[in-house]
Structure formats: structure tokens, C-alpha cells
């Protein structure tokens, strides 16, 4: 089965994988969330406040990146030594992969990686992409046109020969190095550092966005990225205060059923957190799991018929397309009231949706959109950024 990058995200989002509850069972190797003191490198240190999947220790002249690594229901920690170019490897880290900083070239496999890299201001260091087809970043598109960025493939079609020849400073992947194919192992043996960016497993929107600090550590730009992230955080928290204290919470349904099954975000997913912060009532808010629930159409129907709003209603662009998919959807209250919104406003000429790219790092814009949709009077009137109403 070939899973394309965006399809992969579609799944994660609308989702088939039920991610086991996020917990670190290996207490002895649990990454320290409190950052070590010390002088740190010239670009400064960083504190992780929301993300649960990684931590960074700052030492004199080097950093250690810890990533939680999940294989099935096992959880352990991956360690990476981030060492300035030319510095000698400090003792006490046998067998730890070394990444020379600042990383000058990056191969990235998913849209969200592009978003994070762009936010850190180093999109011009991307030399390899999973697929050249779905990109929004103007910098990266320009570099694709001039032939600097190569297509390296994803999952089973990962072009390891090309990657080894390119030898990027780091390869950002979606899955962990042991997962799925032996290709990852081959790449690691060839000295290409694989870094699994598991931002999609975070349970909060700010936790997802905070993965930009991994990029910052790789390229020694903490001093630039930290204040940018802080302003995203500040704005998100300000909006969340407005949204979550709103009176009258309209009910919301997410996604679209196909052939009788409806994948609804589970209670622990970042989407549900967004809905909560936007002041929505979500019927499945108290369910367990961070992925999604596979529900029977009938089980959702009582809620779907009366829900005030229908968000992210699948890959459709109009109400006509929705009723063509299944005429039963026309019976939904949201269909009749015209309160169906999709996150596809920023889909560009080649069909790439910026929501999956810059949306990763802009949770405050997504939240603002949702509040404007659900509570039109709470924020100053403005056009939506990622969302659009279907007519």
C-alpha cells in the first residue's frame, strides 16, 4: 500500500491509527523536561513548555536532543549529539549519533516540516523533499524550479541512494528510525542522521508548534525562533481565554463518513483541544485516545443531524459536492444552515493546502478562524485565514 505524504496526514488527521495513550514508561530514560543550566551555545537555550515528544539539554558548546521513540506500544528515547562543526566529541556519549551544527542542508519528508523550517527562517536550506508536488512556501517552490531541491520520496519509495549521495545535514522523517522499512537503518548506517519529527502525535496545538524548537536547535537559531514562538504562544493563549470562556457553545462535527464509517477525532487529539479552546461543544470530547474514533455513521447521525457547525468536511469544495457524495448529508442542520467550513482557503494553484504546512506553526491563526466561525461577535471582524465557508 502506498501512502502518500499528504494522504498520510489525512489519515493521521481524519485518522485510522489510534495512537496509544502518550506516556513514557521508561522512567529511567525519561528526558528531562527541565533544561540543564550552563552557559549554552552562542544561540542561547530554550525551554520546552508544551511538547511532550522531545527535550533538549544544553551543555557548554554542545546540545543533546532527546526524542521519545514509539514503536507499537513500546516507548524509549532516542538521543542525538548536536555538536558544532569541528568540535571534538565529548566523552560519555558512546554510540550517540552526531549532528554537526548549524545544519546547512535539510531533507524533509512532510508538509509540516516545511512549515516548521520556514518559520525558523531556514527554508532555503531544504535540499530534499518527500514530494515536490505539494508545496506552498514560495522560497522552496523557487528552489524547486531552479532544480536545487531534489525529490527523495517517502516511506517505501524513499530513494536511499539519492539521499546517501546528497548527504543532508539531517533528514526529518515522520516515523521512527526502526519503523516499517529497513531503509531507515541503511540510511543511519550511511551516516545520514534521521530525526523523527512526531509533531503530529502531540495532543495540543502549541505542543505541535513547539517542535519548531528542534529545528532551531539544529540550525543554532534559538535566539531568533524563541521570541517568534513566544508571540505565537501569547496570542494563542489570549484567544483561548476568549474562546473557552464564551457563553453558548455551539455543537460541532468533524470530517465526513465514507461507506458507513466516520472517523471522529478522539478526546486527546489536538483538534479536540482546538475546538475546546474555540468554545465549541464536541460530543466526543471525553473519549480516550489521541488519534481518532472509528464510528458507525448511525452512531454519529443523531449528533450530525442537529450539530450547529460542520468543520473539515472532507475533500469537497461546495455543498453541491457534499450532497453528490451522499444525499443524506443534505439533511444535516449545518448543511441547511450553510455552516460548513473547510480548512482549504489557502490551497494554491497546484492543489497544495497551506493548512498542513504553515498551519502547524500557526495554531493561533487556526484558533482565531474557529472562534470567528463559532462566535462571530467575540473577535473583531476579519476574513478567515485557513478556513472557508462552503456554499
Amino acid at each position: 500500500m502506498i501512502i502518500h505524504r499528504r494522504f498520510f496526514f489525512g489519515i493521521v488527521f481524519s485518522a485510522i491509527v489510534l495512537v496509544p495513550a502518550f506516556s513514557c514508561r521508561d522512567k529511567t530514560r525519561q528526558p528531562a523536561l527541565e533544561q540543564a543550566s550552563g552557559t549554552g551555545t552562542s544561540s542561547g537555550t530554550t525551554v520546552i513548555r508544551y511538547a511532550k515528544g522531545f527535550s533538549i539539554d544544553y551543555h557548554d558548546h554542545y546540545k543533546v536532543l532527546h526524542l521519545l521513540n514509539r514503536t507499537g506500544d513500546k516507548t524509549d528515547t532516542l538521543h542525538y549529539l548536536l555538536l558544532p562543526e569541528g568540535a571534538v566529541i565529548p566523552s560519555g556519549y558512546p554510540g550517540t549519533p552526531v549532528i554537526r551544527t548549524p545544519v546547512k542542508s535539510l531533507a524533509v519528508l512532510s508538509s509540516s516540516h516545511v512549515g516548521l523550517t520556514e518559520f525558523a527562517g531556514v527554508a532555503d536550506r531544504i535540499t530534499g523533499l518527500g514530494s515536490l508536488q505539494y508545496i506552498n512556501s514560495p522560497v522552496v517552490r523557487q528552489r524547486i524550479r531552479s532544480g536545487i531541491v531534489k525529490e527523495v520520496g517517502v516511506d517505501n519509495s524513499l530513494n536511499i541512494e539519492l539521499l546517501i549521495a546528497m548527504h543532508p545535514g539531517a533528514l526529518l522523517t515522520m516515523s521512527n528510525p526502526d519503523a516499517a522499512t529497513g531503509k531507515n537503518r541503511t540510511l543511519a548506517d550511511a551516516g545520514v542522521p534521521l530525526i523523527p519529527i512526531a509533531e503530529w502525535l502531540e495532543t495540543t496545538p502549541l505542543g505541535r508548534a513547539e517542535w519548531v524548537k528542534v529545528i532551531a536547535a539544529l540550525v543554532d537559531r534559538e535566539d531568533i525562533v524563541n521570541p517568534r514562538f513566544d508571540s505565537v504562544e501569547k496570542e494563542y493563549l489570549r484567544l483561548a481565554r476568549i474562546g473557552s470562556t464564551a457563553t453558548g457553545k455551539p455543537s460541532v462535527i468533524i470530517g465526513m463518513p465514507y461507506k458507513g464509517s466516520w472517523f471522529m477525532p478522539a478526546g486527546g487529539s489536538y483538534m479536540v483541544r482546538l475546538l475546546h479552546d474555540a468554545g465549541a461543544a464536541y460530543h466526543w470530547e471525553d473519549t480516550k485516545g489521541t488519534g481518532s474514533l472509528s464510528l458507525n455513521f448511525e452512531a454519529v447521525a443523531p449528533e450530525a443531524l442537529k450539530a450547529g457547525y460542520w468543520i473539515n468536511a472532507g475533500s469537497v469544495n461546495s455543498k453541491a459536492e457534499i450532497s453528490a457524495r451522499d444525499p443524506r448529508f443534505a439533511r444535516f442542520h449545518s448543511f441547511q444552515a450553510g455552516t460548513i467550513y473547510n480548512n482549504t482557503r489557502r490551497t494554491n494553484d497546484i492543489g497544495s493546502n497551506d493548512y498542513w504546512e504553515s498551519g502547524t506553526i500557526n495554531p493561533q491563526l487556526i484558533l482565531a478562524d474557529l472562534i470567528r466561525i463559532l462566535h462571530p461577535d467575540l473577535l473583531p471582524r476579519d476574513s478567515l485565514y485557513y478556513y472557508k465557508q462552503l456554499n
Binding site: 489525512g10 461507506k259 474514533l293 458507525n296 448511525e298 447521525a301 451522499d326 444525499p327 443524506r328
Partner: protein
């Protein structure tokens, strides 16, 4: 089939079928009082519009789809087992289902062209006709290919192997196509391959109904030819039948059935192979005049039961129908075969 017992058995099965059909409509993740279910079913006014929606728009079309798919898959399985004179033959084993999958993929992935896709969606109802036609055509082409190749071999096992090979080639073609298609289209297609009875709406039921109806009637009309084929081609000729024409008619009917169901429900396995065996054992018959309607009955019953079980009790989750059909069908077939110890129909 003579005497009083088969008749009692038949009546018993019919009653059981009615009961299971009603049960399938009465039971679901949303609790609806039985009285209200019946009031809604027989279009008496019922207080709750949500219940009305669930019964009329979700449960009823799903149960009807189960009936149609049960009939179609088992009759097409029966025809193939007779045509190939092989107890292992069924639409999915011989690559007929993958043939229809290729037909569906042709329409759904349509070169990954957004304009084509939009055109298909705009077609709406006629879109389902298009997918159905493509699926039937795909099924027919693969079946014809298997038959032409196997005519040179005259060996049932080799024929089966050829069928499996052609099925594999078809699936590879689909995989290559998927590989180069837009992710959104692939997602739709992949979800379709899981198989489901819940995707057919009231407006599509007449299409599925007429395709399956035509297929089953053709099968019923060709029951004499099927009987003759069972006894060998020479015997058929001696009875004044034209085996070539008989084959063509059976292929048309089988493609309609397998293609129509695959188009709407995705590839549903196992019913096609299991039900003919169950039916032969239950009815102790080998005449297709009995077997065709009997297969409809047994197939419908089996698929309704599977649908009932696929909605886990007291749960909001639904299991793919394909899991349940094999889970229930296989032990039944094994038990029945053990009781008989040999297959003498071939």
C-alpha cells in the same frame, strides 16, 4: 428435492430471513424502541425525526444492500463453481473481483485529473451508473480472459491458477496506478476496498437492485445450461445445448452480479465461495433451478447475519464486513464438509 421436509426447511429459512432482516433494522448503535422502528418502517408518524432518519436513511438501505449483495455474490459464486467445475471457484479467487476493482479504479483515479473527477462528481446518480458499468465491464473482461485461456488447458486446477495469476496482474496494475495518483483519490479508493454495505443510499438502491435483479434472472433462466455443464460438455451437446452460448450467458450474468456489487460495496470476499457449499448441503440439491433461488436465500441470510454482527453490540464502532463474512462463513463450510466428507457435485 421432494417430500415435506425440504418444504418445511424452506419455510423455516424464509421465516428466519424475515426475522433477521427485521432484527438488522431494529438493532444498531442508537437505541430505538422496537415499536418506533415498526411505526417508522410502515410509515406511521413517529415522534423523533432523528430515529426516522436513522431507520429510513441508514438502516433500511443497508439491510436492502445486504439482501442484494447476498443474492448476487452467492449466485455468481454458484455459477462460477459450475462453469469451472471447481468447488474453489468464486469471483474473488478467479480475479473477477479484481477485474471490477480495476474498472472502479479506472473511473475513480481517472488519470488523476481534477477535471475528470469533478465531472464524475457532478454526474451524481449517473456517476454511480458509470462506476457500475466500469466494474461490470472489468469483471467481464477478466472472466472472458480466464475462460479463453482455460479453454486451451481443459484442466480445472490450471484454470484456477490462471485465474489467480490474472487477478494478481490486475491488482498490480491498480497498484501502479495508485502509486502515481493524487493522494485524495487514492484515499477514496482505498476506503472503498475495505468493503462496506453502508455506502449505498436510497437513491442508488434502484440501480443496484436492477443490476442484481437482471443478473439473478439471467442465472435462473440459464439453470438448465448450468445443470448440463455440470455433467460435462459432451453431455450438454447431446442435450442440444450450445456450450459456447451457455458460457457467454453465464459470464454476462456473473459479471453483472460481481461487478454491480463490487462497484457499490467494494470487494466482499467469501460469500461467493461459502454460500453455494452451504446451500448444496442444506438443500441436498444439485439442480440449479433449486440452487439459484436457494443460494439467494442462504446468501441473504448469511450477509444479514454478518451485518448484524459487524456492529459490535453496545458499541459505536463498526467492523469491516469482510472480516465477519470469513469469520462466520469458514467454520460453517468446514462443518458441513466434514459431515459429508466428499464433494460429489463435481
Amino acid at each position: 428435492m421432494s417430500g415435506i421436509y425440504p418444504k418445511i426447511r424452506l419455510i423455516g429459512l424464509l421465516l428466519l430471513l424475515l426475522l433477521v432482516f427485521l432484527l438488522d433494522i431494529a438493532v444498531g448503535p442508537v437505541k430505538i424502541p422496537l415499536g418506533d422502528v415498526f411505526r417508522i418502517l410502515f410509515s406511521f408518524p413517529s415522534g423523533d425525526s432523528t430515529w426516522q432518519f436513522i431507520v429510513q436513511q441508514i438502516r433500511l438501505p443497508k439491510a436492502c444492500t445486504a439482501v442484494l449483495a447476498g443474492c448476487g455474490l452467492s449466485v455468481s459464486g454458484l455459477q462460477m463453481q459450475t462453469l469451472f467445475r471447481n468447488p474453489l471457484a468464486d469471483p474473488s479467487v478467479l480475479g473477477i473481483t479484481s477485474g471490477s476493482s480495476l474498472g472502479v479504479a479506472t473511473v475513480m483515479l481517472a488519470g488523476g485529473n481534477v477535471a475528470t473527477l469533478y465531472a464524475i462528481r457532478e454526474l451524481g446518480l449517473s456517476g454511480s451508473w458509470l462506476i457500475t458499468a466500469a466494474a461490470c465491464l472489468g469483471a467481464g473482461i477478466v472472466m472472458l480472459l480466464v475462460l479463453v485461456l482455460s479453454a486451451r488447458l481443459r484442466d480445472n486446477v490450471m484454470m484456477l491458477i490462471i485465474g489467480i495469476m490474472i487477478g494478481s496482474v490486475t491488482l498490480s496494475i491498480i497498484s501502479i496506478w495508485q502509486y502515481f495518483s493524487a493522494p485524495e483519490l487514492v484515499k477514496d479508493y482505498l476506503l472503498w476496498t475495505f468493503g462496506s454495505l453502508g455506502g449505498v443510499t436510497n437513491s442508488q438502491l434502484p440501480i443496484l437492485g436492477s443490476v442484481i435483479g437482471a443478473g439473478v434472472i439471467m442465472a435462473w433462466l440459464s439453470s438448465k445450461m448450468l445443470d448440463a455443464l455440470l455433467l460435462g460438455e459432451n453431455y450438454a451437446r447431446s442435450m442440444g445445448l450450445n456450450p459456447q452460448r451457455a458460457r457467454l450467458m453465464i459470464i454476462c450474468s456473473s459479471s453483472l452480479l460481481a461487478g454491480g456489487i463490487t462497484a457499490f460495496c467494494g470487494p466482499i470476499g467469501f460469500v461467493g465461495i461459502a454460500v453455494p457449499h452451504i446451500t448444496r448441503q442444506l438443500f441436498r440439491a444439485s439442480s440449479h433451478r433449486v440452487l439459484v433461488p436457494a443460494c439467494c436465500l442462504t446468501g441473504t441470510l448469511l450477509l444479514l447475519l454478518c451485518d448484524l454482527l459487524s456492529q459490535l453490540p453496545a458499541s459505536q464502532t463498526i467492523l469491516p464486513i469482510n472480516i465477519i463474512t470469513a469469520l462466520i462463513g469458514a467454520p460453517v463450510v468446514i462443518t458441513l464438509l466434514l459431515r459429508q466428507k466428499n464433494i460429489n457435485a463435481y
